[in-house]
Symmetry: C2
Subunit: 313 residues, 2 copies
């Protein structure tokens, strides 16, 4: 796949939101009663919605900065160190005195079922800096999640004013939060549960029609896992659908985040909507074939190979 | 309570075994199906059987060294740093190249039920150093758990040869391991589940009689939680029993380890068996009244107050 951008400069995406220290345990089955369950594998990884999206961008050859918040504890040190080593610029992230870093334990069983125990300290995201157009000069686009709404709002507004794509990862959050952010975005990629909670509609195509009426200014996408992606096609004035790539699923953790990162990079490179969704779908599918949360994000060669293979069928 | 030792020198106990980074989540109820459960509190703490026992000793005014093993990862760094800051001498602990540190997630619900997910890398305890009498010169007694059996065995043997109390935390482990260690100990404090697995007997007094016949060289104790402690009274030639102190239970995590640490310190100070068990019971009971695993270990003043209060009733 050749990038359609006029120059070879890697695109730089600002990702705003979650930075979490995840502990993943692989177990034969999720326990149904209290007691002890012995995992056969364990992995600790710094990730979270915006962080995993940033990592996907790096893996695909782009540049990514993360504006997130961690506490002044050892977990915070570990999160920022690990993301920085992964190639993400974390110099704009905050270490909040007196707050505890977000940590999460995830049990994944052999049927792909998950038990997630996420802990967030509300003090992490209490304060927000000012955001000016100058702060965004280095970036080609911005991608925000719902974890740090006050900062996400400022970043979306400033980016749109500056004429840069302003992309929202519309995952489950209190309705007033997601609505506040959705109104300020150019591109909204809703997860199916979030789209359902906003629309009370159960089919993804219906969700897209409903949400497009709410957020007319934005390109509206709903991702529905193995059922693929649905979005509002502006030219046709109807809902478009792209099936998911078929792949053996091992671990879906962070697959949505990888989708968002790949999509933001593709849009920054000037790809059309359907091509961006296609690239994001391929990246997310490849991630699902590998255990380890965001660590399974594919590189550009793997994504291109999957897209070429699909095109030849 | 006045210490019966002739001098005021704090006693120094060598603790051998587990060093784990625990993540404790407090939840309203342990989940029974996959999905997401939101904890209302979270705590990360370096502990584990031998580590928590060492901490109990420090809190009670003694000195403690830990011989444990961690990996060359960030969790290992965190474990040793935290235990050292708590006052434990960890200079004899190993950082094992290429191994991962032990980490564990524990969900504790409002009824005191627990779901424990412990991960151990077998490479942590593959290698064992030599242990000579010189290595034990600084210590008044040794207390080993079942986590690093090959090292525990050498330490128990060397301590006994040197005439120092050799104490075993006889918690659940493969029967051949616990039997191997029990044969070399002067004092064995079995947990009730471990005593049951070795004896197939269900009442604690019966367990003590059975296990005393197996390990005639040792003082044999079985701890049975809120039902108190049972041991073989050598003078009377029968099983003795001490009820547990009544206290509102919030968190029993590490209570057994606090018992072992307090017992080892009491024995090092020259206390008689029943006085040592009494002090250990009081320390364990006080720990149960506080959330936070080993962090709830009481100081000497609190233990003395509980013992005095009980004596005045």
């Amino acid at each position: 796949m050749t990038s359609p951008t006029a120059d070879c400069r890697p695109r730089h995406v600002l990702c705003v939101g979650a930075a979490v220290l995840d502990t993943l345990f692989r177990v034969k089955a999720i326990p149904q009663v209290p007691g002890k369950v012995l995992p056969y594998d364990m992995l600790q990884v710094a990730e979270g919605m915006a962080s995993s999206a940033a990592f996907a961008i790096i893996r695909l050859g782009g540049m990514a900065s993360l504006w997130g918040a961690v506490g002044d504890d050892q977990a915070g040190e570990q999160i920022l160190t690990e993301l920085q080593r992964a190639g993400i610029d974390v110099s704009g992230s905050a270490r909040v005195a007196g707050a505890r870093s977000a940590v999460s334990t995830i049990l994944i069983d052999d049927d792909g079922e998950r038990l997630i125990v996420p802990f967030y300290d509300p003090r992490l995201h209490e304060n927000v800096r000012e955001v000016t157009a100058d702060d965004l000069t280095a970036f080609d686009s911005v991608m925000v999640d719902v974890r740090w709404p006050a900062l996400a709002l400022k970043v979306l507004r400033t980016a749109r004013t500056a004429g840069k794509p302003a992309i929202l990862d519309g995952d489950v959050a209190p309705p007033h939060i997601i609505d506040m952010l959705a109104k300020e975005a150019d591109h909204i990629i809703f997860s199916e549960p979030a789209a359902h909670s906003l629309s009370q509609i159960s089919d993804p195509a219906g969700m897209v029609s409903f949400l497009k009426r709410q957020y007319r200014q934005a390109l509206v996408v709903v991702t529905a896992g193995e059922r693929g992606s649905y979005w509002w096609d502006e030219e046709m004035g109807t809902v478009a659908h792209m099936p998911a790539f078929r792949i053996k699923t091992i671990d879906t953790l962070a697959a949505g985040d990888i989708f968002h990162g790949a999509y933001a990079l593709a849009i920054s490179e000037g790809l059309a909507t359907d091509a961006a969704i296609r690239m994001a779908s391929a990246a997310a599918a490849l991630k699902c074939s590998v255990f380890g949360g965001r660590l399974g994000a594919p590189d550009r060669i793997a994504v291109s190979a999957l897209l070429d293979e699909a095109a030849c069928r």
